[in-house]
């Protein structure tokens, strides 16, 4: 169960506003969370606290394949992203890095910024002050990748199993 305070964003939040390209070629990766969502809310990285949840409209994470977008959000301490829908590359990148995502239709209309919501990943349910939003839970193998902590850890566990 994930429980956290909500930060709200609109539709079509693209990876260029999640992490502008000018920060990507950095030897020091700790730079990325410091600029998370800067393109849409320049002060966001200083406001967001570990355990907070992002709630957004449709097509969250559209645009470039830059994995730094998912990493910046995760390393800023965000516990999960709930959106009306996700762009597919961002969706894969988030799961591959152990950042939980929930696609819940109607969620934007059910929460306000600052609300506290609860996410049950196994059942795909989001509890909001205005009631429950349902989503299709992730297929089992994706849940396994997420629970392993990401695709790298999932791969390592697979290799270990095969060696036994």
């Amino acid at each position: 169960m994930i429980r956290g305070r909500v930060w709200k964003f609109g539709d079509d939040i693209d990876t260029d506003v999640i992490i502008p390209a000018k920060y990507l070629r950095s030897v020091d990766q700790s730079v990325w969370p410091k600029h998370v969502l800067e393109g849409v809310d320049p002060g966001f990285s200083s406001k967001v606290k570990p355990g907070d949840i992002i709630v957004a409209g449709k097509n969250f994470g559209c645009g470039s394949s830059r994995e730094q977008a998912a990493l910046a959000i995760k390393w800023a301490g965000v516990a999960a992203v709930v959106a009306e829908s996700f762009a597919r590359i961002f969706f894969r990148n988030a799961i591959n890095n152990g950042l939980p995502l929930v696609e819940a239709k109607g969620i934007s209309g059910m929460v306000e910024e600052g609300d506290v919501i609860e996410i049950d990943l196994d059942r795909g349910i989001v509890k909001t002050p205005k009631g429950e939003a349902k989503s299709t839970p992730l297929p089992p193998f994706l849940q396994e990748i997420l629970k392993s902590g990401g695709l790298v850890e999932y791969y390592k566990a697979q290799v270990k199993r095969e060696q036994k």
Binding site: D16, K22, R25, V27, R66, E67, R88, N93, N96
Partner: protein, 416 residues
Amino acid sequence: MAMASTAVEKIISDKVGRRVSAGEFVECPVDFAYCHDGTGVLVIDALKRMGVERIRDPDSFSIVFDHSVPPYSDQAATLQARVRKFAREQGLKKFHDMGEGICHEVVPEKGYVAPGMVVFGADSHTCTLGSFALFSTGVGATDLAFILATGKTWMKVPETIRVECRGTLREAVSSKDLILEITRVIGTDGATYKALEFAGEAVRAMSQSSRMTMSNMAVEMGAKTGFIEADEKTVAFLGRDGKRFSSDSGAFHELVEVDAGSLEPCVACPGSVANVKPVREVEGAHVDQAFLGSCTNGRYEDLYEAARILRGRRVHQDTRMIVVPASKEVHMKAQRDGLLDIFLEAGAMIGVTGCGPCLGVHMGVIGENEVAVSTSNRNFIGRMGARSSSVYLASPQTVAASAVEGKITDPRRFLR
């Protein structure tokens, strides 16, 4: 009852070794993979964390340096050196250091791919290669590392939206105008998780280069790929043929019809790729920078069409124009045929082949409140520079005409 299949379903079925259909999750073998200097760094990181010392098939993997070319900072250069070292250690024969071109251009130019293949790239515009009648899609760096380690990946077999383009494009109207119109109709998420298939008279009549422009922008509608059936033009571009698949009639899950014959030049106005209007409706908007290039429109044909307008004319004194060929091949041909002289005489600048200023980090970053008209594929907030700057996406013809006038201009004014 025998069910009809789409071309994309057939390609994936062929790879998986059984008949699959849209909606199924499959583990699919991958024929070819590639990445660039930007995503390459994270691919190497992921492989290291996975404990993979040797990638599975170095001959089915290409790295092309295109994003930070030439490097714009010491850190960019340092990161590239890491990728270069990795390429040498792995014995990659298909490694292309800076100066060769954009990955989505170089990979098909070299004939690394063929119809019927399953291709994954660590760049969102990998969908460009769908124009060669194969399944190609973009993924992140960790996904690519997994593919390099295992030779396969998971995916959901996509539904297909068939986009039937009726009629043929008129003079001064290009495949860029057509794909912008399609984006307007479908929207920025109308094809999410799905495949697009571009078909119809207008697409058949198009050059391979124009078809690449169409498939390139499939991702701007959320699509996995932009499939186009193969013909002799496909084979001529690649220098090879492969396994050809086409959709059974009626196999598509959704049909979108576009009247290409009546289309006029259009632009995607700032903020959203789907915010598309006819050029004549926004004519007169001031332009600080005109950019001709990118994986969308940096090919010879694009330079040729722009040069037709710029020949004997000057770029407006209040506007700067940057031309970046999509590959060394394109650059050399443009040089041989005198196109570069036309650009230089008109007052434009020629940049080093690569992604150029498209992603807003170098070689033409735009400042506070500045406006660019660009042949690239994204006009998100701040994409090419300052947060307050804005980008109009347009065809090579519209970009050239706008550069001459210093404001958004309908290229039909320059028909001779």
